[in-house]
Each structure stands twice: as C-alpha cells, then as structure tokens.
Amino acid sequence: MKKFNLCVLMILSFNLQAAEIIKAEVNGMVCAFCAQGIEKKLRKLPQIQDVTINLKNHIVAVALNDQHTLTVNTIKDLIKDAGYDVTDIKVMQGDLQQFKQP
C-alpha cells in the first residue's frame, strides 16, 4: 500500500511539475494595480490552470490545463488588449513556481 501511495504521489508530482507553460516577457508592467487586467483576462480562459505575474522580471507565465491547447498568439493578443506589449513568448514544460518572485 505504501508503494502504491508513493507511486501516486510521484505521478501527481510529475504531472504538476511538467505542466505546459506559456511564458511571456511583457513591457510596461510597473504596478500590480495596473497589471491586474492581465491576470483577470487570462483567468477567464478555460484552458488556463494558473497565472503568475513577476513584476521585477516583467514576466507573465500561465500553466495550461491537461489536454488543453492554446496558441501563443491568443495569450499575446490578450496581454496586448490589457494594454501591454509582449516582447518574447515561448512554450515550455515546467512549474510556475520558478517564475514567482522570492
């Protein structure tokens, strides 16, 4: 039973860490009050599991739900609609934790 639990934990842990992430570098994000528009717009998308905004490194990163796909252009357009400019955007595997400010 212990081995089974361990396996489940490992699988869950692997899935959490290996989520598909879209990371965008965004110009103009200087205050949390203003950047809230980005988070609110992104969270409305059903494909998105979580959102992280890092003001210091001007990064917006989103974790996608399993079996959902989302083009980088959708994210780019949403951030632009919120009033900001995306300078770089890429899809990667990983954990949103790495983008949070310490």
């Binding site: 009050f33 528009g37 980005i38 003001l55 009033g83």
Partner: protein, 218 residues
C-alpha cells in the same frame, strides 16, 4: 508662465500610476474626497483605449461661500502609451459634459442658485516606473461666464519594490489649483498603498484638510 511650465511638463509626459480607466470590459470607480473638492466617478472601458462613465463633482471656494455641484457624462481616451521594460508612459484625453449648480452665496446679495451646462475637456500625462511616479493634468471646466480650470502636478516614489501579490507603499506629493475657487496652490503629501485589487491614498493638505482617494477596478 505657469501655463508654459505646465505645458512643458505635459510635453515631457510626466507620470501617473493607475490611469483614469481600467482594462477592456472592466469598470473603474474612483473617488477624490476632501472638504473643498469631492469627486466620484465610475466608467466602463469599451475598448482598451476608450471608456465612458458618469461623474459627480463638488467644488468649494477657500472662503467656503461659493459651491459647485457638477454632474457629468464622461469620455476617456488613451491617446498614447509607451511600454518599456521598466516604465510606462501615457497620454490621456479626458472630457465631460453635464449640468452644474452654481451657488455663490454672497453675504450681501440674495441667495441665488444657477444651473448651467458645463464642458470639461482636458489632458493628463503620466510616467511611472516601479519606484517613481509623475503626472500632470490640465482640465478645463468651462460654462457660460464660468471658468474653473483645474491644474495638477504629482510626483512620488515607493519605499521599496514589491511582488505582484504584495501591497506597495508610496509617498506622493500633489500640487493643484482650481481657477476662481481656490487661488492658492493646494499641496498635499499623501501615503499611497497599491495592491492588485485596490489603490488608496490619504494625506493632509497645506490648509490642514484631510484628503482620501481611492480606485477600484472590477
């Protein structure tokens, strides 16, 4: 000379934190509350650059005799935005049209309250980094035989940088003047707290009046 200085400030796009509207499809409410000036508005962002709303403004002269009540429909337009890695600059067009109640309450004359149509076009420019903030606003408040033009300059700094989820404290100083009502320049140092959900400011001006400002986006 004062107009020239203000104009130069605008040309140099002096800064401002949160602008006078939120993001597309959002509502913004704002209040600027003090004994001589009380303004509250709510607007809706139709696009990422345009917002319409309603506004209510109460103005009072330094001698407390003259008062104005202005109810307006407003239109706000983001004319220009420059997004940089560590800064943002904006130029806004703000305007309103509505009715103003004028009460001059002169001691030697009989009480008289007039109602007029008022137009209030203006521009506002701001520049902001994560630690510094500047803004300049010039707005005309005009009606028949009435001129209450409003000028304001703001500058501030934050005590330290914060994460997106934390509350950031700032010290902001505002100097403002309203023609024909408050001839002396009102100077107010204010503590500002910015969070991803709210924006509040509180301070005491150079005539020992308490002021409180807030903004919410929903």
């Amino acid at each position: 000379m004062r107009i020239l200085i203000l104009g130069l400030c605008l040309l140099w796009a002096l800064p401002a934190t949160a602008g006078p509207m939120g993001f597309q499809s959002s509502w913004m409410s704002m209040g600027d509350l003090g004994p001589n000036w009380r303004e509250a508005f709510v607007n809706y962002a139709l696009t990422s650059r345009d917002a319409i709303g309603i506004s209510q403004t109460y103005m009072r002269s330094d001698n407390k005799l003259q008062t104005r009540d202005l109810s307006e429909i407003t239109y706000t337009r983001l004319l220009y935005r420059l997004n940089q890695a560590h800064a943002q600059s904006n130029l806004w067009f703000v305007s309103g049209i509505g009715g103003i109640n004028i009460d001059n309450n002169q001691p030697e004359a009989k009480p008289e309250v007039q109602q007029k149509i008022m137009l209030s076009p203006g521009v506002s420019a701001d520049y902001e980094t994560r630690r510094l903030y500047f803004s300049a606003t010039q707005r005309l408040y005009r009606s028949e035989n009435l001129n209450h033009d409003y000028s304001a300059l703001r500058a501030g700094f934050s005590f330290y940088e914060t994460d997106y989820t934390q509350t950031q404290p700032w010290l902001v100083i505002e100097a403002r003047q309203m023609h024909d009502l408050t001839e002396q320049v009102e100077v107010t140092p204010m503590l500002r707290f910015i969070n991803k959900q709210y924006f509040i400011e509180a301070g005491v001006n150079n005539t020992q009046q308490v002021r409180f400002n807030f903004m919410f986006i929903f």
